[in-house]
Symmetry: C2
Subunit: 385 residues, 2 copies
Amino acid sequence: MTATQTGSQTAKIPGQVRVGVLGGGQLGRMLGLAGVPLGMQFTFFDPSPEASAAEVGDLIVGNYDDDAALLRLCDAVDVVTFEFENVPVRAAELVASRRPLWPPVSTLHVAQDRVREKECFNLLGIPTAPFAAVDSLDELRDAVTRIGLPGILKTRTLGYDGKGQAMLRTEDDVVKAWDAVGGVPLVYEGFVNFTRELSILAVRGRDGVVVTYPLVENSHSEGILRLSVAPAPAVSDAVAEAAAALATRILDHLWYVGLLAIELFETADGLVANEMAPRVHNSGHWTIEGAETSQFENHLRAVCDLPLGDTATRGHAAMLNVIGTAPTPSAILHADAAAHVHLYGKREAPRRKIGHVTVRGNDANDVATRVSAIRRVLANTTPSA
Amino acid sequence: MTATQTGSQTAKIPGQVRVGVLGGGQLGRMLGLAGVPLGMQFTFFDPSPEASAAEVGDLIVGNYDDDAALLRLCDAVDVVTFEFENVPVRAAELVASRRPLWPPVSTLHVAQDRVREKECFNLLGIPTAPFAAVDSLDELRDAVTRIGLPGILKTRTLGYDGKGQAMLRTEDDVVKAWDAVGGVPLVYEGFVNFTRELSILAVRGRDGVVVTYPLVENSHSEGILRLSVAPAPAVSDAVAEAAAALATRILDHLWYVGLLAIELFETADGLVANEMAPRVHNSGHWTIEGAETSQFENHLRAVCDLPLGDTATRGHAAMLNVIGTAPTPSAILHADAAAHVHLYGKREAPRRKIGHVTVRGNDANDVATRVSAIRRVLANTTPSA
């Protein structure tokens, strides 16, 4: 029995599991903050020596084609996950050949390609915008004829925060859009007439159990998420059930383990899937204070085969992203001392997500008023907001 | 403007404050977990290279008489605090001569000595057990004659978790107690006829603002805290106000900055102060989930001159210490998936605090039922519980 080995180097350290994370940005950092209390130890893998997750774990600096560095990560940990959905599949496969890797590599394969992703949704009976793969200007013309205008031409891979996209409103935009983003595999997506953007966060455990968080309402500007409100106001039971059902269908189909975020459009005809992220997600940051178990802890519980935690909300929450530049924590807290400030230890840069602020309360109107006050503080500091 | 320096090494990292912490145990670790989201970076100072706070910051290994190591800490940080109230005053004074150190050194001087501490309480009109300083067997006989039996003989300094104490029930115990703990400065304390043990956590900012958390009810066994329930049930308004008032009196008197915990006895005649800890405290761990702002964040906000956060409770919370040995996180979460498991990354050892579990809910009875279930899991693993 270890209890008799007082002070011994060989006595057990309870809970110790070594978790590797591909990617060392803010999502990794928040995974670390959620996992350290469970006794987990973290090693992050990132191309940048400035990766801010290193504050809460070890850091291996390497590119995703550096096999030796990836194998050093495997040697250092018991289980691996990722916080970045553009991890090259080849790198993920190498890691998965040595250590359990969750979510499964196949998920990266699907989620990294907008066409495969939409095909997966449709296969499961989940509506999407009309879409067509486009590899040439002629194919774009065909797609526009078939799907109609307006629409958006997007890169099939590596797009995020509105990058690699061109809007088409008239026939004149066809060539312009092709010139702007052409030359790589593309997808043309028809316009969806939606009333608002929602997202659902769902977690599947190693044992196949699925839990979901309530729907979140998201507001974007310039292609970047600005505000998430949870639970989303005025969601009908039918919509809530449909969202949970489609999330479960996707998780089961992908034999998923961990947290999956699905972005949805709410339309007059029901929910339309936009895209999914096979990782913890910006629209789930409110769960740190606003839910009984955060998305970060639940992702780790799934990956480490622990029972999933309670996803019930604690009142109402709203999350504002801090983008580009940040006021001091003091300025934010002088505007609202009950706010929860999260800064990511990242340098300021235009359009960069460098933090977020969450407001939690028991009354939705009160939360909205507080959001306005914080938004004013952020606007005075953030030219891009 | 820094926003134009995209990717530059000189662009600002928002919130960055370097915090030094004397002591690198679980309290330091939880300070780090609370401060990293605010952009703070931590350097811990501890005699042990195994200090578990190192998971969330840098670690300087050194003894408290190692001036060179203490000065290295000062060079590495902007502000210093401590998580261990037995930091030698000389070491704290050296640090305070180089960097702002909060709470003030004078607080250590008072809190490290049970006689000075009680004199401070009495000076402020706060009742304590009757007590007398004892340096010889004769002085102990005098003290027992004056104060009566039963009573407890305690070391004046360096006592915690029931260590360095001897109970006196009859005249026969006088010599026995002296033989057990004599030879160092002692205090003899008369018995207090109390109904329960409470504690209050209070925070004073650099601007003198004071906030308090609701009273907590604590249960000890073998001199070690086992269970804290917050808010303490059935507290009258008069008792709540008296506790907040005495805490404020102490904080103002000591020109305190940071979180102070005061252990109290509830008696038929009102509150009696037992002792205080000039740091974050085990009876405040429930605040991580059970209050809008945790004791750890509020301590750091005070030390770093930020506005203090909301101390309102979120429903009802109970915290159980994990002592000696720990079940796996899986065993705890299989008993209650909504529980919050906190393991400290420390090796198992008899009587050692190696973690805690917090249960939060909207109904006090429900929380109590869940506590019983978790207690059974802990009891099956922890022989000393």
